[in-house]
Each structure stands twice: as structure tokens, then as C-alpha cells.
């Protein structure tokens, strides 16, 4: 039995808090806001196209989409410096786009093409682009929180002020690596920023049914001497303000931060999951709490013209069209690629 005592699929629903309208007046430069608007659209439109390509039978294996969760990655993508490090989960398409990676190699990677971001060897769950500071997408829950600490440690020893961000889901807060990583970062005051995107469901099971505290990341922070920030993860401005503060703290030697961003996936956990375990009322409420239409309206309220926003949306759409066409026509990886890049010498030889 779930801890709540409710039968499977009949758990307590969690509705979103209304958007905080006062954030319209937050001290955020308008051009930064427009960039967050663009990134949210880049992510949404890419995810929609990937879904279409899946329905066409062109995307094999599994993948994990982030429709509905764009605001958090977009805000961090704008708040981070290009030389900062970010570490994603396997639900990492959006976080990859947010760091400035163009859509074509991402689509090509999911299509298993030679022009894929990692040559077709990683797939959806292992998108990586070191030149964009995007240090990998990690598919074993929790590991990359520990790895992000290493990047933050390295920055400290090398005398740079780069920070390392680890994004993770609510489910990761119950694995040992989360606790090891947060303790470690706090103890050595590393510039690691732990960002929990709490979308209420670990995979199929509500996080509330397997976790004795209300906020799975934030409520654990005091155990490590940290304050946590809880934000509306669907409001790019809210996330941006939290990100800016955490980044500043990390850059200036103030140590790690935990941010819990409340959000919701529009779809299921993965390809195989229609998400039917979620009550209709909850799904509808969160679909209404969509980050993108809200942000569109906020920018209009701030005096940005509809024509400018429409132009951005159209530019993004055209780029996705071009990228998808190019990815579709790209060749498969050559057979020789099977044998390359196990070792730094480019090969895979293990004996003489």
C-alpha cells in the first residue's frame, strides 16, 4: 500500500499555486526575459518535433521529454555564464538546448545519425556538449550530483569562479548519492547548485507517497546546514531570480545551494508511459499552469510587441524544420564507429 493509504492512481492531487503576478515587476532586464522566452520556445518546439518523429517511427529506444518544464532550464540557460558547467539528467533535451546547443545535432542524435551530438553513441539519455559547458546527461539517478561537485572543486583549485549546476528530479532525492553529494558540497563549500525539478512523480509513483517530507529536496537542506529556495518552476522569472542568487553565492565562495522548482510534465515519464496514473483534475490544472502562455502574456504586459514575440516563435519553428530535415537526411554512423573512442587514443584495443 502507498503510505497515503490511497489506492494506486487515487492519491492526493497536488494543484499548482497561481502564478505570482508581482514577478512582472522583478528587476530582470527585458532582453534577458526575451531570451528566456526564446529558449522556452526552442525547448517546447524541439520536444514537440521529437514526439512527432517518434510517432513516425524514427526515434528508437526510450526518451524522456520535458514539455511543461521548460522554464527552469531556460532560466538557468540564460543565468549561467558560457564557461559554467551544467549536468543534466536523462530528461535533458531542454537543458541541452538551454545551454545553446543547436537543434540539429540533438535531433540527429535521437535519430541515431552520424551527425548526432555524440555521434549516435549516446542517444537521448546522454546528450553532451562540452563546448557549451553542458557536461553530460546522466541516466543513473543521482550520480551526476556527485560529479558536479568534482567540476566545482576543480574550478576552485584552478582558481576560476566557474559554478556547476546539477539538475535532477524529485525521485533523485531518495537515493544515497543525493545525500552524499549535498553533504560533500556543503562541507567543502563547493560552488555546486543543486536544482530539483519537482514534477511530483518519480516515475509512475507520486513522490509524496514515498517521501516523508513535503518538499523532497528543500526539506532535506537543513540537514546539511543549507537554506533552500522553493520556486514556481513554471515561472522563468522566479527561477531566474533564484538562479542568479545561487550563482552569485557559488561564484563568490559562498558554497552550494538547493533550489526546488515546482513543475509538472505534460506527458508521461518516458516514451512507454502515457501518464494515466495522474488524476485528470491535476493534469488539467497544471496544463493551465503552462509556463509558456503565461510568459508570453507577461512580456506583452511589459510592453513587448506581439509582432516581436510572433517573429521569435516563427524563427524557432523555421530552425526546427531545417534541423529536422537535415537530421533525417544525415547518414547513419559508419560501422567503424563501433570500435572508436573507448580510449583516449581513439581506439578500443585491450590486448596486444
Amino acid at each position: 500500500m502507498p503510505l497515503s493509504g490511497a489506492p494506486y492512481g487515487k492519491h492526493q492531487i497536488v494543484l499548482p499555486e497561481p502564478f505570482d503576478e508581482s514577478l512582472k515587476d522583478a528587476p530582470i532586464d527585458l532582453e534577458i526575459r526575451i531570451e528566456m522566452f526564446r529558449k522556452q520556445h526552442q525547448i517546447r518546439q524541439l520536444e514537440k518535433r521529437l514526439y512527432t518523429l517518434f510517432l513516425e517511427g524514427l526515434v528508437r529506444g526510450t526518451s524522456h521529454q520535458s514539455m511543461g518544464m521548460e522554464a527552469t532550464s531556460a532560466a538557468f540557460g540564460v543565468a549561467l555564464r558560457p564557461d559554467d558547467y551544467s549536468f543534466n539528467t536523462y530528461r535533458g533535451h531542454g537543458h541541452t538546448v538551454a545551454r545553446g546547443v543547436p537543434p540539429e545535432p540533438i535531433i540527429a542524435e535521437l535519430l541515431g545519425k552520424a551527425t548526432g551530438l555524440v555521434g549516435g553513441k549516446g542517444g537521448s539519455m546522454h546528450l553532451t556538449s562540452v563546448e557549451h559547458g553542458m557536461m553530460g546527461s546522466y541516466a543513473i539517478i543521482g550520480a551526476h550530483l556527485c560529479i558536479a561537485n568534482g567540476a566545482a572543486w576543480s574550478a576552485k583549485l584552478r582558481g576560476t569562479d566557474q559554478v556547476a549546476v546539477a539538475f535532477f528530479g524529485d525521485g533523485a532525492t531518495n537515493i544515497g548519492a543525493f545525500h552524499e553529494a549535498v553533504n560533500y558540497a556543503a562541507n567543502y563549500r563547493l560552488g555546486t547548485i543543486f536544482v530539483c525539478e519537482n514534477n511530483l512523480y518519480m516515475e509512475y509513483t507520486p513522490i509524496a507517497e514515498v517521501t516523508p517530507v513535503k518538499h523532497p529536496a528543500a526539506d532535506r537542506a537543513p540537514a546539511y546546514g543549507l537554506d533552500a529556495t522553493i520556486v514556481d518552476g513554471n515561472d522563468a522569472d522566479a527561477v531566474y531570480l533564484a538562479a542568479r542568487a545561487a550563482i552569485e553565492r557559488a561564484r563568490t565562495g559562498g558554497g552550494p545551494s538547493i533550489i526546488e522548482a515546482k513543475t509538472y510534465r505534460h506527458g508521461g515519464h518516458s516514451r512507454a508511459d502515457p501518464g494515466k496514473y495522474r488524476p485528470d483534475l491535476e493534469v488539467e490544472a497544471w496544463l493551465d499552469h503552462d509556463p509558456i502562455p503565461m510568459y508570453h502574456q507577461r512580456l506583452l504586459d511589459l510592453g513587448v510587441g506581439e509582432d516581436r514575440l510572433t517573429a521569435i516563435i516563427q524563427e524557432v519553428a523555421a530552425e526546427i524544420d531545417r534541423a529536422a530535415a537535415a537530421a533525417k537526411s544525415a547518414p547513419e554512423p559508419p560501422a567503424e564507429a563501433l570500435w572508436t573512442n573507448v580510449w583516449a587514443n581513439g581506439g578500443s584495443q585491450w590486448r596486444n
Binding site: G120, G122, M135, A143, A148, R158, V342, W343, A344
Partner: protein, 324 residues
């Protein structure tokens, strides 16, 4: 030339590399202030300071994660996992993360790091602190695996491992820490993937690793007195594996014995036997014989632990019987 213990060679090897390259850092449980639970790392904190020699919490995942993240971003970490048995609580980092990052990213992300660990039995520590797990490690594509048997090899293979651009697991044998050996003056840098022929004999080839090397040599001494002459090869490096040296030797002796401390099933010797039987079958004059720890957990009672591990008596008797 100076005589060092295998224990002292650990710190000497790490210090040699830390002096040479400021990007080499060292982390692990009790490695700094305490100088290591086996006193293998004494003096490093004093010489290199707490920025480069880090006493960590008991958090093996955090240790290997920090090492990996640092290696990805410009440092050359050496991480200690105190007992190799503890790899079981951080194996994700070895098998899924560190080993695979280069392949999964098609060469974009490398992890030039060393994980060193106290491996093997002989200290009566029981089933969870005595295992030889080098065969677990070699089963994972993407990590290199070495296990030196002498102080000189320990320093040289440590240096080679630190300088290697790929991740290396270096297994120190706990029972060898008090053993002594001559170590030349000056910098020592060895090579991964090279076995060493320690003794030449025409009747059979014996390949051994770590603690099994001195035991195989002792068995060879005893059999020599009976007119049986063995070639003894210290494998030293399981990945890359120097099959050429082994195949060349078997071509001359026509018999092969492996002496393995890890439990029987899928021990490293099984892979060598497979290679030799495929590629040197017509050189062989008799069956290949594996001398191993039985497929058992290890007991802590001294007599039971001794019964489990191959010793010179068992090695000599097995070889003598097989050679008829």
C-alpha cells in the same frame, strides 16, 4: 638504490606525481591527517596541503563522483577506495560513469583519473574486507586495471596510471604492504600493458598477479630443486593485457598454469586460458590448469583463510601433479 616497503612505495609514487604535476590531487577516507588506514599515504598532507590532499567523509559515491568531475574539467585526481570491497557501494561510478563517458560522448569527455584500492586477503579481515576484485574491474569496458607486486612496480605503475589519459584502477595488495624491494633513485615511470617475465624455465609457464607472484616464485624455487623448471610471469596489467608475452612463453614451454586469488568463476585467468587455448592450442602439450581461490566467500579464521588462497605448497603440488 634504496630499499622501500610496498607500503612506503604508495606515498612515494603519489608524491612523485604530485611534485611533477600541480593538477594531480588526492582524495579519500582518512588519507590525509591519519596517513591512511594502512599508513600508505603518510606525509602527503604535510607536503601538499589540504587543497590537494583531501580527507573525505565516508561517501564512496561522492569520492568517485568528485574525482570524475574533476578529471573531466582539467585535474588529474587519484582517489582512494580504502578496501576494494567498497567498490560495491560505488560501482555505478566505475562501471556506468567513468568507464563509459568517453564512448558515450564519442570522445568528447575523458576521465584521466586513478582509483587505487587495498585489495586481497591475508589480513584475516573476513568476507567483506579481503576480496580480490580485479576480475570485476576487468569485466567493464573502458577502465584499465593494474595490480603491481613489488615496490618498484607500484611506483612505476602509479606514475604510468596518473599520466595515462584514461581511467585506471590500481589494486594494491594489502598483504604485500610490509614486503620490501629495491627501488632505484630518481623518477620511476613504468608502462601499462606490459607483463614481466621474472624467471625462465622450460617446463611450464606460470602466470600470476599481486600476492600470487611471490607465492608462484616460491613454488618455482621448490620445484627447481626437484628438477622442474618454471617460467613465472607477473601479469601486472589486466587491461591492457600483454597476451604477446604470455603466448610467446607458452610457445616455448608448452604448458600453462594461472595462479589467481580471485574466486574461481570468471577469474582473470579464465580469460588468459581462453586466449591461449584459441591461439596457442597446437603449442600445448597438456591441459591448461587454473589454480584459484575456490568459489567461496573468505573466512576470517587464519587457518580457513589460508586454506582458501593458493599458497606455494598448493601451487607446487598442482603443477607437479599436472606435469606428471
Amino acid at each position: 638504490m634504496a630499499e622501500l616497503t610496498y607500503r612506503e612505495a604508495v606515498a612515494a609514487g603519489i608524491a612523485q606525481e604530485m611534485r611533477r604535476d600541480p593538477s594531480v590531487v588526492f582524495l579519500g577516507e582518512d588519507v590525509g591527517g591519519a596517513g591512511g588506514v594502512f599508513k600508505t599515504t603518510a606525509g602527503l598532507l604535510e607536503e601538499f596541503g589540504p587543497d590537494r590532499v583531501v580527507d573525505t567523509p565516508i561517501s564512496e559515491q561522492a569520492i568517485l563522483g568528485a574525482a570524475m568531475g574533476a578529471a573531466m574539467t582539467g585535474l588529474r585526481p587519484i582517489a582512494e577506495i580504502m578496501f576494494s570491497d567498497f567498490f560495491a557501494v560505488c560501482w555505478d561510478f566505475v562501471a556506468n560513469e567513468i568507464a563509459k563517458s568517453r564512448y558515450m560522448t564519442d570522445g568528447m569527455v575523458g576521465c584521466p583519473l586513478v582509483i587505487r584500492s587495498g585489495n586481497g586477503a591475508g589480513l584475516r579481515f573476513g568476507a567483506q574486507h579481503s576480496q580480490s576484485i580485479e576480475n570485476w574491474a576487468m569485466a567493464v569496458p573502458g577502465v584499465k586495471v593494474v595490480a603491481p607486486s613489488t615496490p618498484k612496480d607500484l611506483i612505476g605503475l602509479m606514475a604510468a596510471s596518473v599520466r595515462d589519459p584514461d581511467p585506471v584502477l590500481l589494486f594494491e595488495h594489502k598483504a604485500l604492504y610490509p614486503s620490501k624491494g629495491e627501488v632505484p633513485e630518481g623518477e620511476i615511470v613504468d608502462e601499462l600493458g606490459k607483463a614481466r617475465v621474472l624467471r625462465d624455465g622450460s617446463d611450464a609457464t606460470v602466470v600470476a598477479l599481486a600476492l600470487m607472484v611471490p607465492r608462484a616464485l616460491e613454488a618455482a624455487d621448490r620445484l627447481a630443486a626437484e628438477g622442474i623448471h618454471l617460467t613465472v610471469i607477473d601479469v601486472r596489467s589486466l587491461v591492457p593485457l600483454d597476451t604477446a608475452t604470455i603466448l610467446r612463453s607458452v610457445a616455448g614451454t608448452s604448458r600453462l598454469f594461472t595462479v589467481e586469488e580471485n574466486p574461481r568463476l570468471c577469474g582473470w585467468g579464465a580469460e588468459i586460458c581462453s586466449i591461449v587455448s584459441e591461439e596457442a592450442f597446437w603449442d600445448l602439450d597438456g591441459p591448461i590448469v587454473r589454480i584459484t581461490t575456490p568459489h567461496l566467500p573468505l573466512a576470517s579464521a587464519p587457518n580457513l583463510e589460508d586454506l582458501a588462497l593458493p599458497d606455494a605448497d598448493r601451487i607446487a603440488a598442482t603443477i607437479k601433479a599436472a606435469l606428471g
